[in-house]
Symmetry: C2
């Protein structure tokens, strides 16, 4: 199936181009022509794969979810085999922080999409699904860490998940803006996690 | 000085127009002509007050800070005279959440400016100043609540401020996206504040 692979590669190359533009200058006034130039293809080819900019943006949010998922998986894979759920929880949350070029771009793209999500139900649905998956995973890790005795049994996993995800989202913006460094953001996260340990 | 007042009113009317556009469709591809149309004035008049779009955006971020300051002041003014610092801290943080049309627009505008801040030192400076002021105010309220015995004396006010401000920022995005309601976001905030009470 060499043809099929080729199509997917081209499609991904176009999305990656949109991505690079969104990560450096936002989605402000980005045109199909600009995206074509950035991807090194013709505008016609872009239009062959995506009917319009909105369709491309929906694809780009899908790619965003994939990349965040890959980043989390990578963070978890870097842990020792004898990892605890508490350690996995920390690695999971840390993977959501924009601490290198790749995750920084993801955060910028997510921010660029935020206003669009408020007007575009397809993008809003993707954000909602992504958020539900994240919550589900974090609730699972909090519960497991409670079962392992590393987090207090008294905690409501759903409530703590709400706090941890909002905290990481806020720290992410602060990192982008230079109000936190990677070190200080992780220290804030660790402080909150330490507080959840059995008393 | 009627002339001077008139100039300021016109300038503000133009900024309010930029504001309405940013709050509904972001800063994507917004042009001086669009802003002029929204403000009900000529493009020439817009150019009389602002040399270019960037100058207008810097003014708009200044207006953002003013509005957030007014909102916080309003939240604090609504408290009983015998308010505690703990109550003031809660009102202060709650005022930063997008819970009505005005604060929702402010959050959207702040988000629309985030990527710009990364490229534009003038806007980044304004964000940094605003953040420093916010941190200073929250550190003061946490310290005062500790002195009044309503928050644990063991806490590091700067560290707790980092957590609370990041939490509120993350909850704000979740509110905009509909992942939280006002009630659930406030419940999350209250849960974190309750945890800071003396044991």
């Amino acid at each position: 199936m060499p043809k099929r692979v080729d199509h997917e590669q081209r499609r991904n190359a176009i999305i990656e181009a949109l991505w690079r533009i969104a990560g450096t200058s936002g989605l402000e006034g980005v045109s199909l022509s600009q995206i074509a130039t950035e991807a090194g293809v013709s505008k016609g080819l872009v239009q062959h794969y995506f009917r319009n900019k909105d369709e491309m943006l929906v694809h780009a949010t899908g790619r965003l979810r994939e990349r965040v998922g890959e980043r989390i998986a990578h963070g978890l894979a870097g842990l020792p085999a004898a990892r605890t759920s508490r350690t996995a929880l920390r690695a999971f949350l840390a993977a959501l922080l924009p601490t290198d070029d790749g995750s920084r771009t993801e955060s910028l793209v997510a921010n660029a999409f935020l206003i669009r999500a408020l007007k575009d139900p397809a993008i809003a649905d993707r954000f909602r699904d992504g958020n539900t998956q994240l919550r589900h995973a974090v609730v699972g890790l909090v519960s497991a860490a409670q079962a392992e005795g590393d987090l207090s049994a008294d905690l409501d996993p759903a409530r703590e998940t709400d706090i941890l995800l909002a905290l990481v989202a806020g720290l992410g913006d602060a990192l982008l803006l230079g109000h936190h460094t990677e070190t200080s953001a992780l220290a804030v996260l660790d402080h909150q996690l330490d507080r959840l340990a059995p008393g």
